[in-house]
Symmetry: C2
Subunit: 135 residues, 2 copies
Amino acid sequence: MKLELLASFFLLTTCFTAFSQEKQDTAVADKGLIKVSVMYPYAEGKTFNMEYYVTKHMPMVAAFLGANLVKYTIEKGLASGIPNQPLPFMAIGTFYVKSLSDYQAAIAPHGDAIRADFQNYTNIIPIILVSEVVN
Amino acid sequence: MKLELLASFFLLTTCFTAFSQEKQDTAVADKGLIKVSVMYPYAEGKTFNMEYYVTKHMPMVAAFLGANLVKYTIEKGLASGIPNQPLPFMAIGTFYVKSLSDYQAAIAPHGDAIRADFQNYTNIIPIILVSEVVN
């Protein structure tokens, strides 16, 4: 019986240890990753179909990236944070990857397909920022 | 002895359930949050002291936000993702908050102190994007 109690205690300890480790990993998980942010500037007459972007375009590109892709995010621009300034970006799609060169190698053969899909959801020419998560 | 085995099994199941729940929470944790992204455009002659920004400015602003702040991130611009294009942004600091109005109310009384601190790390006038995490 002592053995079983010990086993229970061991399992419980393992559980809590794994749990707190997981929480810690979450907090610092992005640090050091490379972000490729595809930013769609707002301007008069520009359109952006968020539903197509979320359900079709981003999953298509994400599928090209394999295990190098840690996660991707999509955000919808709401306003400028400075009063009386225009909205800077209508939308931003961001790929968090481990390696920029692996990202570039994976995307290169699909560049034409990705660009051809733009017209299905927007008439904006995006800017692309490559950055590193420092904190 | 049967009881202890049962208890061990229960603990193990609880552990795995809690663990997988945590992983799921991590993946979708940001969805629906408001991002306030302070973006520092690159241009010839512009400077940005990342060390001061990471150790002094961002922690100061974060401390004003209280429980409304879920997390904040800092990224360092590396390059444009489009060949032969200039770097779009030297740095971006982002606050993930639950409520935009609570953010604005918390920041308002400290606006002068925040702006006065800019000169300690940069000569860039930032643009600010308010956006919603949709995915």
